[in-house]
């Protein structure tokens, strides 16, 4: 088991669910209001309607989450079990454990793209 560490993680809340992103991949964090510029919503991952939140931007993709906090300490990245390797189009990079709680770590651009290509269409 390769021990990869991740330094700088954005711990994001979406409703009662939770997502984590590698902070290094996030270019810009902005605010997003309903009726604003159309963008991918993390809420659509959990089949929830969109709401105001923070807009995370990476490369040309961006994703809106409800709220976020930054974990700056280096964390070991746990590998994805084989059974979950293909979910969300391979956007799941692994897991980080913060204070006993397991957070799924995603690639922001890949997840945003997956949401934009698969889920937004379904929702809309």
């Amino acid at each position: 088991m390769s021990a990869v560490t991740v330094t700088g993680v954005l711990l994001c809340r979406v409703g009662a669910e939770q997502l984590a992103f590698d902070a290094n991949q996030v270019g810009h964090i902005g605010a997003w209001e309903p009726g604003g510029q159309p963008t991918a919503h993390a809420r659509s991952l959990f089949l929830m309607p969109s709401a105001a939140g923070k807009q995370l931007t990476s490369e040309a993709e961006s994703l809106v989450v409800d709220s976020l906090e930054v974990h700056a300490e280096p964390l070991p990245r746990l590998p994805v079990p084989l059974a979950l390797a293909s979910v969300t189009g391979g956007a799941l990079l692994g897991f980080v454990q913060v204070a006993g709680v397991l957070w799924p770590l995603y690639g922001l651009a890949a997840l945003a793209r997956h949401v934009r290509q698969h889920l937004e269409v379904e929702l809309s």
Binding site: P81, A83, T88
Partner: protein, 142 residues
Amino acid sequence: MAEPTKGHLVFACGESLYGVAADLAAEVVTLPALTRVPGAPGHLLGVFAHRGEVVPVVDLLKLLGLGQGLEAWKRAVLVRTPKGALALTATRVAGVSVLPLGLSPLAADGVRAHLLGPARSPGGEVAIVECQGLFEHLSRVG
């Protein structure tokens, strides 16, 4: 000549009894709060960290299409295969029973192709879970 037998960890999930080869059954655990993974199939209830490892939890009832399963499973049987670990939800763990080997699968294909049996045990008929095959099946489906 006596039929070849092997020790199996027998557990109940819903109405039925299932058996896992004792050498593959790593541990019986009490399930902690699970982390849900978006986009995962319904029988994958979530993941939890166990001894530095992310273990996916499989709801056998949902997997076998036997019901909606429980909201909060208490027990799970941790199965370790060469390609990874799995936790199978259990209503009750009966203990280790010696069950015959060489049983046929319950179905030709699908998930039930990885269930062998039925094998007779003091608690009733037991379907033996062919863990490696199930793991691979799950990896394909996931």
